[in-house]
């Protein structure tokens, strides 16, 4: 078991290393001079341009040779620093991200976990009842084939723009100062709802279909037939099928984390929801590659962590893996 996790951790570390190295390249590989881009937004006289250019180049550590920059980057990273944001100059990138992260987590975690749980449950029920199979399933196909941004647009149009049931944008009402008051919490909740529903629904469809199809397979597995030959009631057979079908679903969860994050990005953009995804667009629009680099680093770490959690849960849930580990056969 220890060897397994040591190996896993090594893989994670290597992946992290490669991904971070690529990420480091973002502001440096991009064509054009990020400082020139920044300064072009001010109307400057040539003399002050030269002075500012050199001071900003120093401030963003872009003057050193590349290998030096690379080492400095790792050193700073280990100290928890991701440099300075152009978009929110002079705030450090970490501060900018920290403000956005809470919103994204509040959106992504419940949407992912709830859609996963609900999708699995409903898919399992659909596999059991013909009526549900004929109604829930087509609906699920529609949902999972829906581009996130389109569902978001549709919800924003119908429920916000036309019906005015929900606010169309933002993380909370402009008229409130963030405080721990009921009014503020309510405002957070109403602004959170539509983006949450978007992420939830699209995810839900996929999980429901996945679970339904997996259960159909599982019900045809040898152990299911054996249970039947022992006269076990359908309930028990389905229970086993459901539990076993959760395993490939869990693998699916790990594989689709990237897609889910991508969905969150476009959804946040549609609703102007001030999370990481929205920040991606701001960083792109303001050509803030340092911020972009920080966000992507954050996503990389997040996805890796989530993968690790899935790995651990998988080991907890699947005795085959666990036993295999203990016997050192894997």
């Amino acid at each position: 078991m220890r060897r397994y996790f040591a190996r896993k951790l090594l893989t994670y570390f290597l992946t992290f290393f490669v991904a971070v190295t690529l990420d480091w390249g973002i502001p440096r590989l991009m064509p054009g001079d990020p400082i020139a881009g920044l300064l072009s937004k001010f109307q400057l006289q040539p003399s002050s341009y030269a002075v500012l250019h050199s001071s900003y180049t120093r401030a963003f550590n872009l003057g050193e040779p590349l290998w030096r920059q690379y080492l400095d980057f790792w050193r700073a990273l280990l100290h928890g620093s991701l440099g300075t944001s152009i978009y929110a100059y002079p705030d450090p990138v970490t501060t900018v991200i920290r403000h956005a992260v809470v919103f994204t987590l509040a959106l992504l975690l419940p949407a992912t976990v709830l859609s996963y749980l609900a999708g699995n449950k409903v898919g399992a029920i659909a596999a059991r009842r013909k009526l549900l199979d004929d109604t829930v399933l087509p609906f699920s196909y529609v949902l999972t084939a829906t581009p996130y941004q389109w569902l978001a647009l549709l919800l924003a149009f119908v429920l916000a723009s036309v019906a005015h049931v929900f606010p169309i944008s933002g993380g909370f009402s402009y008229s409130l100062v963030p405080t721990l008051s009921w009014a503020f919490l309510w405002s957070l909740l109403t602004h959170w709802f539509l983006p949450f529903v978007t992420l939830f629904l699209v995810g839900f469809g996929g999980w429901a279909i996945g679970m339904r199809n997996l259960i159909i397979y599982e019900l045809d597995a040898d152990y299911a037939h054996f249970l039947e030959s022992l006269g076990a009631p359908r309930r028990l057979v389905r229970k086993y099928a459901y539990k076993n079908a959760r395993l490939p679903q869990l693998t699916g969860l790990a594989l689709s984390l990237g897609t889910i994050v991508g969905g969150a990005v476009v959804t946040e953009i549609v609703f102007n929801y001030p999370g990481i995804g929205w920040l991606v667009l701001q960083a792109i629009n303001s050509e803030d590659f340092f911020l972009l680099q920080g966000i992507f680093l954050f996503i990389i770490v997040g996805v890796l962590l989530a993968n690790f959690v899935v790995d651990v849960v998988y080991v907890l849930v699947d005795p085959r893996t666990r036993i295999g580990l203990q016997e050192g056969t894997r």
């Binding site: 290597l14 992946t15 084939a145 647009l153 149009f157 699916g252 990237g258 991508g262 667009l281 792109i284």
Partner: protein, 302 residues
């Protein structure tokens, strides 16, 4: 997500004692009887047809300013006009064409990479497997958008072909993993062992023994990659990394969003492209499950 609809379960297992492998015409029969397959294929087929005849059925160049702006659907403008007075119908059929192109090209490239990586990793094992696994992991973890931004930064603006190639180059990891798992389970079977012992060269074994045994699985994988490629490119387009103009379904949504279609209530600008994408991708997914049921006798119901 939907990629789980083809499970890693071994659906190519030898048929039961009494069952016999279905002859081809029987597959056709089951295919025709399978409601999912028929519905899925009809939707994809219809939309595909619309894409193919797009240049003939479009009423104008999709970018041309043909009429008064913001016209709701009417007999003169089937799906209304955009904020700028472009014909939404013409943009839609043209966008469908682009989406299919991206789907086939992007999905195709991803499929080729996924099978190559999956077969090699699963068949060769060892260090090759480790390296390929690492590559797969890295691609699964890093946000592909980051790569797109860098690569796209060097190209002044993108094109459908570039986008399809990019999607193809980045969307394969999950499929590679699934194919690797399948290959692993097949490689342990007798016939591959026999072939190996008899000194047949590896790629011949893969092409001659392994691939045919999972042909239906591979086909289903391609269908899912096809749909994925369309969805992915739609979100790139929506973020503004697509080809310029209102020429793809994703950029139609992007433009509609950027030009206030929500507030101006120009719903006919962003609803059709979404429905079209949903139709293609949903149709493909349903086709996928239908085909799975046709290929796999165990899942057939009479």
């Amino acid at each position: 997500m939907s990629k789980d609809t083809t499970t890693t379960k071994d659906d190519t297992a030898a048929p039961t004692e009494e069952g016999n492998t279905a002859p081809r015409h029987e597959l056709v029969y089951f295919a025709l009887r399978n409601r999912k397959l028929v519905i899925g294929l009809s939707i994809v087929g219809l939309l595909g047809l619309a894409a193919i005849v797009a240049p003939f059925s479009a009423r104008s160049n999709p970018d041309a300013f043909v009429g008064p702006p913001m016209q709701p659907p009417s007999s003169s403008y089937l799906l209304g006009t955009t904020y700028f007075g472009q014909d939404v119908y013409s943009q839609l059929v043209n966008g469908l064409r682009q989406s299919f192109l991206v789907g086939i090209m992007g999905g195709g490239i991803a499929f080729v990479v996924a099978t190559a990586v999956g077969f090699t990793a699963g068949y060769r094992g060892g260090a090759v497997d480790e390296v390929l696994n690492m590559l797969t992991n890295v691609l699964l973890v890093i946000p592909t958008l980051a790569l797109l931004i860098i690569v796209g930064g060097y190209l002044k603006g993108t094109s459908i072909v570039f986008e399809a190639m990019f999607v193809g180059a980045t969307a394969w990891p999950w499929a590679a993993r699934a194919i690797r798992a399948q290959t692993l389970s097949l490689v342990s079977r007798d016939f591959v062992g026999l072939a190996r012992l008899s000194g047949v060269r590896s790629w011949r074994i893969v092409v001659g023994e392994v691939a045919p045994n999972m042909s239906s699985y591979l086909f289903l994988t391609f269908i899912l990659l096809f749909g994925n490629a369309i969805l992915i490119s739609a979100s790139y387009d929506f973020l503004g990394f697509g080809p310029p103009g209102g020429v793809s379904l994703g950029s139609m949504m992007n433009l509609a969003f950027a030009w206030n279609a929500l507030q101006l209530h120009i719903w006919w600008w962003f609803v059709p492209p979404g429905v079209a994408i949903m139709g293609i991708v949903g149709g493909l997914y349903v086709t996928n499950v239908g085909l799975d049921e046709v290929f796999n006798p165990k899942l057939r119901s009479l």
